[in-house]
Protein backbone atom coordinates (compact mmCIF):
# COMPACT_ATOMS: atom_id res chain seq x y z
CA UNK A 1 0.00 0.00 0.00
CA UNK A 2 1.48 3.40 -0.90
CA UNK A 3 2.19 5.45 2.20
CA UNK A 4 1.35 8.85 0.78
CA UNK A 5 -2.09 10.03 1.72
CA UNK A 6 -4.19 11.67 -0.95
CA UNK A 7 -4.65 15.31 -0.22
CA UNK A 8 -8.35 15.68 0.34
CA UNK A 9 -8.36 18.56 2.76
CA UNK A 10 -5.44 20.94 2.60
CA UNK A 11 -4.51 23.40 -0.11
CA UNK A 12 -7.68 23.07 -2.09
CA UNK A 13 -9.85 25.95 -3.10
CA UNK A 14 -13.13 24.11 -2.79
CA UNK A 15 -15.19 27.16 -3.66
CA UNK A 16 -13.90 27.06 -7.25
CA UNK A 17 -15.17 23.52 -7.93
CA UNK A 18 -18.47 24.45 -9.66
CA UNK A 19 -16.94 27.04 -11.98
CA UNK A 20 -14.11 24.66 -12.79
CA UNK A 21 -16.57 21.94 -13.71
CA UNK A 22 -18.44 24.42 -15.88
CA UNK A 23 -15.21 25.22 -17.68
CA UNK A 24 -14.35 21.54 -18.12
CA UNK A 25 -17.86 20.93 -19.43
CA UNK A 26 -17.20 23.53 -22.14
CA UNK A 27 -13.94 21.82 -23.10
CA UNK A 28 -15.68 18.46 -23.29
CA UNK A 29 -18.36 19.95 -25.52
CA UNK A 30 -15.66 21.18 -27.91
CA UNK A 31 -14.18 17.67 -27.98
CA UNK A 32 -17.63 16.22 -28.72
CA UNK A 33 -18.61 18.70 -31.43
CA UNK A 34 -15.34 19.51 -33.21
CA UNK A 35 -12.91 16.81 -32.07
CA UNK A 36 -11.01 19.80 -30.67
CA UNK A 37 -7.51 18.58 -29.73
CA UNK A 38 -6.54 21.77 -27.89
CA UNK A 39 -9.58 21.37 -25.61
CA UNK A 40 -8.75 17.70 -25.06
CA UNK A 41 -5.13 18.60 -24.27
CA UNK A 42 -6.35 20.84 -21.44
CA UNK A 43 -8.62 18.12 -20.06
CA UNK A 44 -5.80 15.59 -20.33
CA UNK A 45 -3.43 17.93 -18.48
CA UNK A 46 -5.86 18.14 -15.56
CA UNK A 47 -7.41 14.67 -15.39
CA UNK A 48 -4.65 12.42 -16.78
CA UNK A 49 -2.35 12.83 -13.73
CA UNK A 50 -5.30 12.55 -11.33
CA UNK A 51 -6.66 9.39 -12.95
CA UNK A 52 -3.13 7.96 -12.84
CA UNK A 53 -2.88 8.69 -9.10
CA UNK A 54 -6.30 7.18 -8.50
CA UNK A 55 -5.35 3.94 -10.29
CA UNK A 56 -1.99 3.78 -8.50
CA UNK A 57 -3.69 4.29 -5.12
CA UNK A 58 -5.86 1.29 -5.90
CA UNK A 59 -2.84 -0.91 -6.40
CA UNK A 60 -1.78 -0.61 -10.06
CA UNK A 61 2.01 -0.41 -10.58
CA UNK A 62 3.36 2.69 -12.35
CA UNK A 63 3.37 1.15 -15.84
CA UNK A 64 -0.14 -0.26 -15.71
CA UNK A 65 -1.47 2.90 -14.03
CA UNK A 66 -0.09 4.85 -17.02
CA UNK A 67 -1.58 2.39 -19.55
CA UNK A 68 -4.97 2.26 -17.85
CA UNK A 69 -5.01 6.06 -17.54
CA UNK A 70 -4.50 6.33 -21.29
CA UNK A 71 -7.34 3.86 -21.85
CA UNK A 72 -9.57 5.99 -19.60
CA UNK A 73 -8.70 9.18 -21.49
CA UNK A 74 -9.36 7.40 -24.80
CA UNK A 75 -12.88 6.66 -23.54
CA UNK A 76 -13.24 10.34 -22.58
CA UNK A 77 -12.38 11.30 -26.19
CA UNK A 78 -14.65 8.71 -27.79
CA UNK A 79 -17.63 9.14 -25.46
CA UNK A 80 -17.49 12.94 -25.04
CA UNK A 81 -20.82 13.37 -26.84
CA UNK A 82 -22.61 11.25 -24.21
CA UNK A 83 -21.60 13.54 -21.34
CA UNK A 84 -24.66 15.20 -19.77
CA UNK A 85 -23.91 18.17 -17.48
CA UNK A 86 -27.33 17.74 -15.79
CA UNK A 87 -26.36 14.26 -14.63
CA UNK A 88 -22.83 14.75 -13.37
CA UNK A 89 -19.90 17.12 -13.11
CA UNK A 90 -17.01 16.34 -15.48
CA UNK A 91 -14.84 15.01 -12.65
CA UNK A 92 -17.66 12.66 -11.59
CA UNK A 93 -18.13 11.44 -15.14
CA UNK A 94 -14.41 10.74 -15.49
CA UNK A 95 -14.30 9.11 -12.05
CA UNK A 96 -16.98 6.62 -13.14
CA UNK A 97 -15.07 5.85 -16.36
CA UNK A 98 -11.84 5.24 -14.41
CA UNK A 99 -13.63 3.11 -11.80
CA UNK A 100 -15.31 0.98 -14.47
CA UNK A 101 -12.13 0.58 -16.53
CA UNK A 102 -10.30 -0.65 -13.48
CA UNK A 103 -13.02 -3.16 -12.65
CA UNK A 104 -13.06 -4.38 -16.28
CA UNK A 105 -9.28 -4.83 -16.21
CA UNK A 106 -9.47 -6.70 -12.92
CA UNK A 107 -12.48 -8.91 -13.39
CA UNK A 108 -12.80 -9.32 -17.11
CA UNK A 109 -16.55 -9.16 -16.79
CA UNK A 110 -18.74 -6.17 -17.40
CA UNK A 111 -19.87 -4.04 -14.54
CA UNK A 112 -23.62 -4.28 -14.01
CA UNK A 113 -25.34 -1.02 -14.80
CA UNK A 114 -28.93 0.13 -15.03
CA UNK A 115 -30.11 1.48 -18.36
CA UNK A 116 -32.85 4.13 -18.67
CA UNK A 117 -33.91 2.80 -22.11
CA UNK A 118 -34.78 -0.61 -20.64
CA UNK A 119 -38.56 -1.32 -20.47
CA UNK A 120 -38.12 -2.62 -16.91
CA UNK A 121 -36.56 0.67 -15.73
CA UNK A 122 -38.66 2.69 -13.25
CA UNK A 123 -38.25 6.36 -14.25
CA UNK A 124 -37.81 9.30 -11.89
CA UNK A 125 -40.78 11.19 -10.58
CA UNK A 126 -40.62 14.95 -11.29
CA UNK A 127 -37.73 16.31 -9.21
CA UNK A 128 -38.32 17.64 -5.72
CA UNK A 129 -37.31 21.30 -5.35
CA UNK A 130 -34.20 20.34 -3.36
CA UNK A 131 -33.13 17.91 -6.08
CA UNK A 132 -32.80 20.51 -8.79
CA UNK A 133 -29.35 21.71 -7.86
CA UNK A 134 -27.10 21.09 -10.84
CA UNK A 135 -24.54 18.35 -10.67
CA UNK A 136 -21.73 20.90 -10.62
CA UNK A 137 -23.24 22.58 -7.54
CA UNK A 138 -23.38 19.21 -5.79
CA UNK A 139 -19.67 18.80 -6.14
CA UNK A 140 -18.95 22.16 -4.57
CA UNK A 141 -21.18 21.30 -1.62
CA UNK A 142 -19.60 17.88 -1.20
CA UNK A 143 -16.07 19.30 -1.26
CA UNK A 144 -17.04 21.83 1.43
CA UNK A 145 -18.71 19.12 3.52
CA UNK A 146 -15.67 16.83 3.35
CA UNK A 147 -13.37 19.63 4.41
CA UNK A 148 -15.57 20.20 7.48
CA UNK A 149 -15.93 16.51 8.36
CA UNK A 150 -14.44 14.96 11.54
CA UNK A 151 -11.20 13.10 10.73
CA UNK A 152 -12.56 9.62 11.48
CA UNK A 153 -15.43 10.09 9.02
CA UNK A 154 -13.19 11.51 6.29
CA UNK A 155 -10.88 8.53 6.87
CA UNK A 156 -13.76 6.13 6.14
CA UNK A 157 -14.57 7.92 2.90
CA UNK A 158 -10.91 7.94 1.89
CA UNK A 159 -10.52 4.20 2.58
CA UNK A 160 -13.67 3.46 0.60
CA UNK A 161 -12.71 5.41 -2.53
CA UNK A 162 -8.93 5.01 -2.63
CA UNK A 163 -8.23 1.59 -1.11
CA UNK A 164 -10.74 -0.67 -2.82
CA UNK A 165 -12.24 -1.58 0.53
CA UNK A 166 -15.90 -2.48 0.96
CA UNK A 167 -17.50 -1.46 4.26
CA UNK A 168 -16.84 -4.92 5.72
CA UNK A 169 -13.21 -4.80 4.46
CA UNK A 170 -12.82 -1.43 6.22
CA UNK A 171 -14.00 -2.96 9.50
CA UNK A 172 -11.46 -5.77 9.13
CA UNK A 173 -8.65 -3.34 8.19
CA UNK A 174 -9.28 -0.99 11.11
CA UNK A 175 -10.15 -3.79 13.53
CA UNK A 176 -13.37 -2.03 14.56
CA UNK A 177 -16.84 -3.61 14.70
CA UNK A 178 -18.83 -3.61 11.47
CA UNK A 179 -21.58 -1.63 13.20
CA UNK A 180 -19.11 1.18 13.98
CA UNK A 181 -18.01 1.40 10.34
CA UNK A 182 -21.63 1.48 9.18
CA UNK A 183 -22.58 4.22 11.60
CA UNK A 184 -19.53 6.36 10.73
CA UNK A 185 -20.20 5.97 7.02
CA UNK A 186 -23.88 6.81 7.47
CA UNK A 187 -22.97 9.83 9.55
CA UNK A 188 -20.50 10.99 6.91
CA UNK A 189 -23.01 10.50 4.10
CA UNK A 190 -25.78 12.23 6.03
CA UNK A 191 -23.51 15.25 6.47
CA UNK A 192 -23.12 15.42 2.70
CA UNK A 193 -26.88 15.15 2.30
CA UNK A 194 -27.59 17.84 4.86
CA UNK A 195 -25.52 20.16 2.75
CA UNK A 196 -27.74 19.42 -0.24
CA UNK A 197 -30.84 20.14 1.79
CA UNK A 198 -29.37 23.44 3.06
CA UNK A 199 -28.26 24.76 -0.25
CA UNK A 200 -29.91 22.70 -2.95
Amino acid sequence: MPDTQPNIRGGLSVASAPSQSFEHGGLLLRVARQQDRAAFTELFGYYGPRVKSYLARLGADAASAEDLMQDVMLVVWRRASTYDPQQAAVSTWIFTIARNKRIDALRRDRRPNFDPSDPGFVPNAPPEPDQEASAAQWEGHIATAIAAMPAEQAEMIRLAYFNDLSHSDIAARLGVPLGTVKSRLRLALSRLRLRFADKG
Binding site: L12, A88, F95, F121, E139
Partner: protein
Protein backbone atom coordinates in the same frame (compact mmCIF):
# COMPACT_ATOMS: atom_id res chain seq x y z
CA UNK B 1 -43.30 2.35 2.72
CA UNK B 2 -40.46 1.22 0.49
CA UNK B 3 -37.37 -0.60 1.67
CA UNK B 4 -34.31 0.96 0.01
CA UNK B 5 -30.95 -0.73 0.31
CA UNK B 6 -28.65 0.52 3.11
CA UNK B 7 -26.22 3.30 2.19
CA UNK B 8 -23.11 1.20 2.78
CA UNK B 9 -24.02 -1.13 -0.10
CA UNK B 10 -24.69 1.82 -2.44
CA UNK B 11 -21.33 3.23 -1.43
CA UNK B 12 -19.52 -0.06 -2.13
CA UNK B 13 -21.07 -0.07 -5.60
CA UNK B 14 -20.13 3.59 -6.16
CA UNK B 15 -16.50 3.08 -5.12
CA UNK B 16 -16.20 -0.16 -7.09
CA UNK B 17 -15.34 -2.23 -4.00
CA UNK B 18 -18.54 -4.31 -3.99
CA UNK B 19 -18.26 -7.93 -5.11
CA UNK B 20 -19.73 -8.70 -8.55
CA UNK B 21 -22.92 -10.30 -7.12
CA UNK B 22 -23.52 -7.38 -4.73
CA UNK B 23 -22.93 -4.94 -7.61
CA UNK B 24 -25.48 -6.82 -9.70
CA UNK B 25 -28.08 -6.60 -6.94
CA UNK B 26 -27.42 -2.89 -6.30
CA UNK B 27 -27.55 -2.04 -10.04
CA UNK B 28 -30.85 -3.91 -10.39
CA UNK B 29 -32.23 -2.15 -7.29
CA UNK B 30 -31.17 1.20 -8.80
CA UNK B 31 -33.09 0.41 -12.00
CA UNK B 32 -36.24 -0.01 -9.91
CA UNK B 33 -35.87 2.63 -7.22
CA UNK B 34 -35.52 6.34 -8.19
CA UNK B 35 -34.89 7.44 -4.59
CA UNK B 36 -31.93 5.09 -4.30
CA UNK B 37 -30.61 6.46 -7.63
CA UNK B 38 -30.72 9.92 -6.15
CA UNK B 39 -28.52 8.87 -3.18
CA UNK B 40 -26.29 6.89 -5.50
CA UNK B 41 -25.63 9.90 -7.75
CA UNK B 42 -24.46 11.82 -4.71
CA UNK B 43 -22.01 9.05 -3.92
CA UNK B 44 -20.64 9.11 -7.46
CA UNK B 45 -20.30 12.89 -7.13
CA UNK B 46 -18.28 12.20 -4.01
CA UNK B 47 -16.01 10.08 -6.22
CA UNK B 48 -15.66 13.08 -8.55
CA UNK B 49 -14.62 15.28 -5.64
CA UNK B 50 -12.10 12.67 -4.49
CA UNK B 51 -10.63 12.58 -8.00
CA UNK B 52 -10.51 16.38 -8.11
CA UNK B 53 -8.59 16.58 -4.87
CA UNK B 54 -6.13 13.69 -5.22
CA UNK B 55 -2.42 14.56 -5.48
CA UNK B 56 -1.66 14.30 -9.24
CA UNK B 57 1.06 11.94 -10.56
CA UNK B 58 2.98 13.10 -13.65
CA UNK B 59 1.93 11.32 -16.83
CA UNK B 60 4.65 10.05 -19.20
CA UNK B 61 5.94 13.00 -21.27
CA UNK B 62 4.81 11.43 -24.54
CA UNK B 63 1.46 10.18 -23.17
CA UNK B 64 -0.68 12.68 -25.04
CA UNK B 65 1.17 12.17 -28.35
CA UNK B 66 0.71 8.41 -27.97
CA UNK B 67 -2.97 8.88 -27.26
CA UNK B 68 -3.53 11.08 -30.33
CA UNK B 69 -1.69 8.43 -32.39
CA UNK B 70 -4.11 5.81 -31.06
CA UNK B 71 -7.06 8.05 -31.88
CA UNK B 72 -5.72 8.51 -35.44
CA UNK B 73 -5.43 4.73 -35.79
CA UNK B 74 -9.10 4.41 -34.86
CA UNK B 75 -8.54 2.73 -31.48
CA UNK B 76 -11.78 2.53 -29.51
CA UNK B 77 -13.86 3.92 -32.41
CA UNK B 78 -16.58 1.38 -31.53
CA UNK B 79 -17.09 3.25 -28.25
CA UNK B 80 -18.64 6.11 -30.21
CA UNK B 81 -21.74 4.05 -30.89
CA UNK B 82 -23.98 3.58 -27.89
CA UNK B 83 -24.17 -0.09 -26.96
CA UNK B 84 -27.68 -1.50 -26.76
CA UNK B 85 -28.61 -2.87 -23.35
CA UNK B 86 -29.17 -6.59 -23.07
CA UNK B 87 -32.84 -7.02 -22.26
CA UNK B 88 -35.29 -9.87 -22.20
CA UNK B 89 -38.93 -9.46 -23.17
CA UNK B 90 -39.73 -10.08 -19.53
CA UNK B 91 -40.31 -6.68 -17.84
CA UNK B 92 -39.78 -8.29 -14.44
CA UNK B 93 -36.09 -8.56 -15.33
CA UNK B 94 -34.31 -5.15 -15.55
CA UNK B 95 -31.29 -4.70 -17.83
CA UNK B 96 -28.38 -5.44 -15.48
CA UNK B 97 -29.91 -8.79 -14.59
CA UNK B 98 -31.00 -9.74 -18.12
CA UNK B 99 -27.37 -10.48 -19.06
CA UNK B 100 -27.53 -13.59 -16.87
CA UNK B 101 -30.74 -14.98 -18.35
CA UNK B 102 -30.69 -14.21 -22.04
CA UNK B 103 -32.75 -17.31 -22.79
CA UNK B 104 -35.42 -16.46 -20.27
CA UNK B 105 -36.18 -17.48 -16.74
CA UNK B 106 -37.39 -20.96 -17.57
CA UNK B 107 -34.05 -22.09 -18.95
CA UNK B 108 -32.21 -21.44 -15.70
CA UNK B 109 -31.41 -24.49 -13.56
CA UNK B 110 -34.27 -24.41 -11.09
CA UNK B 111 -34.01 -26.61 -8.03
CA UNK B 112 -36.81 -27.15 -5.53
CA UNK B 113 -35.91 -26.31 -1.92
CA UNK B 114 -39.18 -27.05 -0.22
CA UNK B 115 -42.75 -27.16 -1.46
CA UNK B 116 -43.47 -24.02 -3.50
CA UNK B 117 -39.91 -22.67 -3.13
CA UNK B 118 -37.34 -22.94 -5.92
CA UNK B 119 -33.97 -21.39 -6.57
CA UNK B 120 -31.72 -21.07 -9.62
CA UNK B 121 -28.03 -20.09 -9.32
CA UNK B 122 -26.69 -17.29 -11.56
CA UNK B 123 -23.30 -17.50 -13.21
CA UNK B 124 -21.69 -14.65 -11.27
CA UNK B 125 -19.31 -15.00 -8.35
CA UNK B 126 -17.59 -12.65 -5.92
CA UNK B 127 -14.11 -12.53 -4.51
CA UNK B 128 -15.33 -13.39 -1.00
CA UNK B 129 -17.48 -16.28 -2.14
CA UNK B 130 -20.61 -14.17 -2.59
CA UNK B 131 -23.23 -15.94 -4.69
CA UNK B 132 -26.32 -14.80 -6.55
CA UNK B 133 -29.47 -16.74 -7.31
CA UNK B 134 -33.08 -16.23 -8.28
CA UNK B 135 -35.66 -17.37 -5.80
CA UNK B 136 -39.28 -18.15 -6.62
CA UNK B 137 -41.84 -18.53 -3.84
CA UNK B 138 -45.33 -19.64 -4.84
CA UNK B 139 -48.16 -17.39 -3.64
CA UNK B 140 -48.85 -17.98 0.05
CA UNK B 141 -45.86 -20.31 0.52
CA UNK B 142 -43.05 -19.72 3.03
CA UNK B 143 -39.33 -20.35 3.23
CA UNK B 144 -38.64 -22.42 6.39
CA UNK B 145 -37.61 -20.31 9.37
CA UNK B 146 -33.90 -19.57 9.14
CA UNK B 147 -31.01 -17.36 10.15
CA UNK B 148 -27.78 -16.65 8.21
CA UNK B 149 -24.06 -17.18 8.46
CA UNK B 150 -23.23 -14.05 6.48
CA UNK B 151 -25.08 -11.18 4.90
CA UNK B 152 -28.06 -11.96 2.70
CA UNK B 153 -29.67 -9.35 0.46
CA UNK B 154 -33.01 -10.12 -1.18
CA UNK B 155 -34.39 -7.85 -3.93
CA UNK B 156 -38.01 -8.39 -4.93
CA UNK B 157 -38.56 -8.43 -8.71
CA UNK B 158 -42.20 -9.48 -8.80
CA UNK B 159 -44.97 -10.18 -6.28
CA UNK B 160 -44.22 -9.52 -2.63
CA UNK B 161 -43.20 -11.30 0.54
CA UNK B 162 -43.47 -10.48 4.20
CA UNK B 163 -41.56 -11.28 7.37
CA UNK B 164 -41.90 -9.99 10.94
CA UNK B 165 -40.26 -6.69 9.89
CA UNK B 166 -42.60 -5.77 7.06
CA UNK B 167 -43.77 -6.42 3.51
CA UNK B 168 -41.35 -6.23 0.61
CA UNK B 169 -42.63 -5.50 -2.90
CA UNK B 170 -41.03 -4.98 -6.34
CA UNK B 171 -37.84 -2.93 -6.00
CA UNK B 172 -37.55 -3.41 -2.21
CA UNK B 173 -34.48 -4.91 -0.57
CA UNK B 174 -34.58 -7.07 2.56
CA UNK B 175 -31.21 -7.34 4.32
CA UNK B 176 -30.54 -10.08 6.87
CA UNK B 177 -27.52 -11.36 8.79
CA UNK B 178 -26.78 -13.70 11.70
CA UNK B 179 -28.84 -11.50 14.05
CA UNK B 180 -32.00 -11.90 11.98
CA UNK B 181 -34.19 -14.98 12.12
CA UNK B 182 -37.13 -14.89 9.73
CA UNK B 183 -39.64 -16.91 7.76
CA UNK B 184 -40.31 -15.00 4.53
CA UNK B 185 -43.79 -15.74 3.24
CA UNK B 186 -45.03 -14.85 -0.24
CA UNK B 187 -48.13 -12.65 -0.28
CA UNK B 188 -51.25 -14.10 -1.85
CA UNK B 189 -51.26 -11.66 -4.81
CA UNK B 190 -49.07 -14.02 -6.83
CA UNK B 191 -45.77 -15.85 -7.02
CA UNK B 192 -42.86 -13.87 -5.63
CA UNK B 193 -39.66 -13.65 -7.68
CA UNK B 194 -36.48 -12.38 -6.01
CA UNK B 195 -32.79 -11.88 -6.64
CA UNK B 196 -30.80 -13.11 -3.63
CA UNK B 197 -27.14 -12.44 -2.93
CA UNK B 198 -25.55 -14.13 0.04
CA UNK B 199 -22.08 -14.35 1.52
CA UNK B 200 -22.72 -17.47 3.58
CA UNK B 201 -25.12 -20.40 3.97
CA UNK B 202 -28.51 -20.09 5.66
CA UNK B 203 -29.04 -21.76 9.01
CA UNK B 204 -32.43 -23.40 9.48
CA UNK B 205 -33.79 -22.72 12.95
CA UNK B 206 -37.15 -24.51 13.06
CA UNK B 207 -37.31 -27.45 15.57
CA UNK B 208 -37.34 -30.13 12.88
CA UNK B 209 -35.75 -28.34 9.93
CA UNK B 210 -32.48 -27.71 11.78
CA UNK B 211 -31.65 -31.38 11.32
CA UNK B 212 -31.15 -30.57 7.64
CA UNK B 213 -28.41 -27.98 8.26
CA UNK B 214 -25.49 -30.33 7.54
CA UNK B 215 -26.92 -30.85 4.04
CA UNK B 216 -27.20 -27.19 3.12
CA UNK B 217 -24.49 -25.79 0.90
CA UNK B 218 -25.55 -22.22 0.69
Amino acid sequence: MTHAIADEFLLDHATGAASAPVSLLVATHLALNPAARWSYRQMESLGGVMLDTIEPTKADPDALAKLFARIDRGDGADLEHASMPVTTRDVRIPAPLAVYMRDGLDLLEWKQLTRGVEEAPLDIHGKQGDRAMLLRIAAGRAIPKHSHRGVELTLVLDGAFGDARGVYARGDVCAADETIEHQPTAELIGDCLCLVVSSGPVRLTGPFMRLLNPFLTR
